[in-house]
Symmetry: C2
């Protein structure tokens, strides 16, 4: 409600604008770029918000006053087009029939932008903030003694404070220190690996003998020159489980056991079972729930010794098809529990495919160029589908720009939890509830600042995308692409885009000024594996090695 007061002020005179700054203290703080939009559309949006609030109230009334449950399923490393579309299924020789069906049951968000890698995308969604603001821009693979800061406020905390029950199952990848674990970041229950798939599927004997891994596995080459055993980290923590307020425990990993692809598969099977278990548990309560299921699949680095099912047969393609059947089971369980109608289900991927394993993985560049780690559309555009039968029109789609951080603000709005969003920092996430409920052309974002790690690499506005110019090149001559006409960003029309150079430069200045006013916050720091009560001896040794230079 408070926002609307500001919106009205913003369209007033300059004098009013000056006065607004005091009101901002109670407002969610957005990037200056968003305020530019609000200045232009504030009155219309205010009217629409009133209508939306009434709709949401009506839906709650129809559900005995209960707010909707929310399920957020985030799969790992799939580029736009790789799930939810029959035509693309035929291209890839993979069937995702359950996802294809799901994609027609709600709103397909066809221009969803993410960050280019796992940790940043997940941090953006969790905090509603570009990962640069929370220090979460980098992907960490082994021990780092770092993680999402306790100062950050996650969507789980926001919804939890507003009365939601919260669970997290699957990949987390937000750090290896106690404060960063999901059960310390707003989740009542969490089952998650301490790291990610490089450890779980790539650092194995199977991957080495399949020629997908250099030299980590000692039995695949002579190691006569090896003097430093710590360069290859052995003994890392695998799967953890915990409840809020408890210490975490490593599970299914006896001391001395050597991790293998079979363990990775078993972990995936376990998370699928636990996700369904959580669904069953959470749906028993009178209170609504927020369940995150972040599967590790389809990211995978080696064939199992089982017959493949897809026409493609690649080691990631296979897991994509398997994941589709699991997704079908999950949705079926929602039907069985009778919670489908008033549960929002968001399904998307965290970033583009890990194309570095192109051929044998079975998945390659499809429509957009690039993949994970790239600022090209292939790195930061993913399929995204939202179903909420009580409120969202079936078989609809929208080409409006949306960024993964918008889910934070949007879900908080729908969950009547926006009072718990902090006002002392920039929230990049925009409330896109109107897009969800009113459909295409009701989005409130027409831009994205695209970071590649700590570097601002590109800026998106409407159908235009500017790649940051090389050092020394004037901004007016930066390469600009039209993503409708040149989806693969192959032909920059510098001359044709000269008119937009100044506007892009203004956008960057606004963004930088916002950062100056609200400086970035630091990543959390601590001892790796703090807050885990059953470290194995091999893990203790690894931690000791790490701490010896800290």
């Amino acid at each position: 409600m408070r926002k609307k007061v500001v919106a009205r002020s913003l369209v007033g005179t300059m004098a009013t604008l000056m006065a607004v700054s005091t009101v901002y203290a109670e407002e969610i703080v957005h990037d200056a770029q968003y305020n530019i939009l609000e200045r232009q559309h504030g009155e219309k949006w205010q009217a629409e918000d009133i209508e939306i609030d009434a709709k949401l109230a009506e839906i709650r009334d129809n559900n005995g006053g209960k707010r909707p449950n929310i399920v957020y399923i985030l799969v790992d490393d799939l580029s736009y087009g790789q799930m939810g579309n029959r035509k693309m299924n035929h291209v890839m020789g993979v069937k995702t029939e359950n996802i294809n069906q799901f994609a027609t049951e709600g709103l397909a968000l066809e221009r969803m932008y993410t960050e280019p890698s796992c940790t940043p995308t997940r941090a953006a969604m969790m905090t509603g903030r570009h990962p640069i603001r929370s220090g979460s821009s980098e992907v960490k693979v082994t021990l780092v003694g770092e993680g999402l800061s306790k100062e950050e406020v996650t969507i789980a905390e926001v919804l939890s404070e507003a009365g939601y029950n919260t669970s997290h199952v699957g990949k987390w990848h937000q750090g290896d220190i106690e404060e960063s674990y999901p059960h310390n970041q707003g989740f009542d229950y969490a089952a998650f690996p301490a790291h990610q798939q490089v450890q779980l599927s790539l650092m194995t004997k199977e991957a080495a003998f399949a020629n997908n891994l250099f030299g980590f596995e000692p039995s695949i080459q002579s190691n006569d020159f090896v003097i430093d055993d710590t360069f290859r980290p052995n003994g890392m923590v695998t799967g953890l489980e915990a409840r809020k307020g408890e210490k975490a425990k490593e599970v299914a990993m006896p001391a001395g056991h050597v991790w293998s692809q079979a363990d990775y598969h078993a972990m995936n099977v376990r998370y699928q079972a636990q996700a369904i278990e959580q669904l069953q548990e959470l749906s028993k309560s009178e209170d609504p729930f927020y369940l995150q299921y972040w599967p590790l699949y389809p990211l995978n680095f080696v064939h199992d010794q089982t017959p493949n099912e897809s026409l493609n047969g690649g080691f990631m393609a296979e897991k994509l098809q398997l994941l589709d059947t699991w997704f079908g089971e999950f949705l079926q369980e929602m039907d069985n529990l009778g919670i489908t109608d008033n549960t929002i289900v968001v399904l998307m991927a965290d970033n583009g495919l890990m194309y570095h394993y192109g051929g044998p993985s079975g998945l390659s560049e499809l429509i957009y160029r690039g993949g994970k780690t790239d600022f090209l559309e292939g790195g930061i555009r993913t399929d995204a589908y939202v179903r909420w039968p009580a409120a969202i029109e079936a078989n609809s789609s929208a080409g409006d720009i949306i960024h993964v951080s918008d889910l934070f603000t949007t879900l908080a709005t729908i969950g009547q939890a926006t009072d718990h969003i902090p006002r002392d920092r920039v929230i990049d996430g925009i409330n896109q509830t109107p897009l969800l409920l009113n459909g295409e052309f009701h989005g409130r974002r027409d831009y994205v600042y695209v970071y590649q790690g700590f570097r601002l690499a590109a800026v998106v506005k409407d159908e235009f995308k500017m790649h940051m110019p090389a050092p020394g090149m004037p901004g007016a001559a930066a390469p600009v692409f039209n993503v409708y006409r040149d989806p693969r960003e192959e032909n920059a029309h510098i001359g044709m885009a000269l008119w937009s150079g100044a506007s892009f430069q203004d956008m960057i200045k606004r963004h930088q000024l916002t950062i100056e006013k609200y400086p970035h916050l630091p990543l959390g720091k601590g001892a790796p594996y703090s807050g885990i009560e059953n470290l194995r001896p091999e893990t203790e040794k690894l931690v000791a090695d790490f701490m010896s230079w800290h």
Copy 2:
């Protein structure tokens, strides 16, 4: 029926095989590669054919004994993914809602191969033969005094002899001599341009001032060095109309008139009106009809001076969106006439997009690499949808390989016209009626010989595609791609494909032996514009220039 006798024989002993050759005289002659398949599946296919024949008879019984009408709509230069899919619509910023809807009303043929350019694809469909066999491999742009030979037997002739009424409206591009015109190749009625869009949309003042054309238009540069006026052909014939047995007449082109983009648009509008007119006329008869509507759009080379409608705004993208509305009107007229249920409608493109106009046309490479003129999948894979409510399952799709020449044999089979297919030459088209009626995995082709003009450029088998090796490179080391895993054909895995080298070489030998046994036939030759009764003076001059060196 005769084929079944052979099929049974083929699975018999060598002695039986030797005896079969005499039966072949009555059989449709296929490439040896197909006979290899028939040897393996003859008995099963024979049983399926009996079942299919019964189905077809039943459908005819349900329609008062009438065979289905056939509408074949072939649009110009669109790559796979560019029509009929909502997700791809969002990528391109173009809406093809009518085509998307149509794509769900029947069978989507998701692995349709064409030839890489207009003339060869259209010749392949017309004759059921690879264009190399009829001399139709080359695309001709201006006067050539050549065209589809009267010795070739087209699908229109085959169906016409079996009692179908036949009409052709739109692009033809099979030559500029009398025998090659559609009304002399089996069509009762024809309205068609003598050439194609290079003349009709590119060789204009508008294209020159839009920077899409070099130097043809005299007013855009000084021509002080020009000595030879014939290098720029002026006075070419534009739109023609005729009925079987009549001379052709040029229409809507007064002597002295200078052709412009407005004329091109008017021609497109006229063909749309004439296609609907033909639909109305043809549906009055007791006999079934075969109607070809081959729009010139979306191929286009310049913006009209009218506001664009699509988010994309490119000069081809715009016409794609326009074409979609026209297609909707055409289908609506079918509904109005009550002929939808028992009419087969095939909608597809003739080859990949003309990506040479990438940016400003609005259409660029999408999924597959390459476009028109290329042997890459981007040149020879197109969207293809078949609707026949009486017989084909709605909302189905098939990843089976099919080649555009298969339509010849398939439509002849459904039209009970196979007796009129000549037995003295190779027919590459395979009867794919089982695929249409029984769906995915019932296709009878697992290979395609890919020609680029007169050159065998690639061979497709299952998910594999071999690019012909460079001269001097052994066949075993030819680059082989897996099109599911590497749809853009970017990473040849020569080492991994070594096993297939010999098999691909066998395929090429079989194909060459078939050619030796049944040599290619020559293209028709004659005077350009023969059989046109109202040549303009400027055209007479052009013909005189041409004949002066013939």
